[in-house]
Symmetry: C2
Subunit: 334 residues, 2 copies
């Protein structure tokens, strides 16, 4: 089998490039210009039941998630989504109740973020496929790209990490947890939330030099910014969720690994001008969120976590075990 990243490279190699494309190849969203400073912003991402829907996730939750995972990319770029279209592949065995739940999940996912599902297409397919395309407009100079991080910038995140991996392990079986934390962990998988308010607020501050969502895990997100901005990272705080710390203790697994090498979580990972950090923090607090600084951008092109006297290299990878049963999709944005 050809790897997905290789498949994307091959396809990209066959695509003609739009002249003066306002958002470069390989960022989280695509766009075209409609005036000097105004863009139509676009994103598409597909959910396939066999590879993307873990045990215990309902049709409603899968449909809602298919919308949320697209909204998260808009959030990371600071773009408000306006309309979603949905192409559905429906297997024969689907019940009326399941189709109703898909409709409700799509609608709730979109309305939660102010967007509408305007239309789409259905056809028969072997497996349930929910392919969402999201669109909206944005000011070009407000869009937060992956590529502007500079040495000395601070690294910040909008929340804690590791919950989805722990939640997935619980859903897939073989791990244990007290009820008190089980719900939080499992819920992070079944009902993810996009940091749209935070992203929109941050894009107005001018504080952000690079941004991405953490849908492929914290480590991978850092490496994507590193690669697009030609920098490295030195983290001195690990944004580990307290439930993940507990899960790791109980199950005797490495909490650092759970936190760095996650996936299917939708926090924002940002780099900030050192002069504008407080402004960014205030903007996020104003919309009910919290920004945590976890390190800084380094000139040396590697990513390192240094806690106390322990230095640990942050590898460019996502969640390995889950990859065997679950497929992390990849962009070939132009």
């Amino acid at each position: 089998m050809i790897g997905e990243r290789r498949a994307i490279e091959i396809i990209r190699g066959r695509l003609s490039k739009m002249k003066d494309a306002p958002i470069p190849f390989g960022d989280d969203v695509s766009a075209f210009s409609i005036s000097k400073n105004e863009l139509v912003v676009l994103k598409t991402d597909m959910l396939v039941r066999e590879t993307d829907v873990p045990p215990g996730m309902s049709c409603y939750q899968a449909a809602r998630k298919a919308i949320v995972m697209n909204v998260s990319d808009f959030a990371a770029k600071g773009v408000k989504p306006t309309a979603a279209l949905v192409a559905l592949g429906l297997p024969r065995e689907l019940t009326i109740k399941e189709v109703e739940d898909i409709g409700a999940g799509l609608n709730d996912g979109a309305r939660e973020y102010g967007a509408y599902v305007l239309g789409g297409d259905t056809g028969e397919a072997r497996d349930l496929i929910i392919s969402v395309s999201l669109s909206g407009t944005a000011k070009k100079d407000r869009v937060m790209l992956r590529s502007g991080a500079k040495p000395g910038d601070l690294v910040a995140v909008t929340g804690t990490f590791g919950k989805t991996v722990a939640g997935l392990e619980l859903l897939c079986g073989g791990f244990k947890s007290p009820l008190s934390i089980r719900e939080v962990l499992v819920d992070s998988v079944l009902t993810p939330h996009a940091r749209l308010k935070e992203g929109l607020a941050l894009s107005q501050t001018g504080a952000v030099t690079a941004a991405i969502d953490s849908s492929d895990g914290l480590a991978w997100s850092l490496h994507e910014i590193a690669s697009a901005s030609n920098v490295g990272f030195l983290l001195d705080e690990l944004p580990i969720a307290k439930e993940v710390q507990k899960f790791a203790e109980i199950n005797a697994v490495d909490p650092v690994g759970l936190t760095l090498y996650g996936g299917e979580e939708y926090e924002l990972v940002l780099t900030l001008k050192p002069t504008h950090v407080e402004q960014a923090e205030r903007a996020v607090e104003k919309v009910g969120g919290k920004l945590s600084v976890i390190g800084r951008v380094a000139a040396q092109k590697k990513a390192v976590l240094k806690t106390g006297d322990i230095r640990r290299v942050i590898e460019p990878r996502g969640y390995e075990h889950f990859k065997e049963i679950q497929n992390v999709g990849h962009d070939f944005s132009n």
Copy 2:
């Protein structure tokens, strides 16, 4: 199994309606307003190999067709496509050559109509899935809807019908044809073309009162306009392709059925103000096409073909045999 049209109804029933949506529920494309008279126009349609790709169609052709079938809806509305995004589900057994061909087919399909593939997403899937979303901008008052046909308007089409059904029958086996017409018929399936130039030219004339593409066949297209415009049709010409006439003779099948009840063909079906017919014809000729008047809009809500003394009711259905092996997707545009 729930029928596709029923599935769409169910999903539609769960969707909140955008206030002042500029294009009504159920038309070929969706849109949102960006200024008083300017729209962002959107369409998504998914191709699934098992149900939508006939024997003999290559990966290149399938990818190209996935773009063209979306462009055809833009053509029917008179909207220029600017950007395509593609969500791909790739089965494990796909070769590098096949992935290259998919990239090339996507690009060629888009460039042929002036659009660019700006990005997308890939993931693993059991079957090859090519989900395309197309976008562009348009003047609201130039978009040709399904809903404006009035009794007395003339019905016109941009080409001849029946070739794709004959071509599909040839590809699926069991029918015969001389080589002289085989290529035309099979090519209509493998390398479809959207009538974009014609649609764009027509939208500028102000002559068109309703429009749709014929992707579900001529009969179905007429019934869609009839239902959206609350009218009926009386056809006095059958736009049968000469190759289809020959195919029907050789194989002793009904040429009228082949012409009316087709599918996967991308002509435009239009209704025209009787005062503006010549203007519309000239506009289409100017871009190298040909418009043929085949009947008129009737007040009585049924569709009838009257050739000589024979009256035949045009049923609201597409290609039946092909439906068993091939799935015609349906819109739930909002």
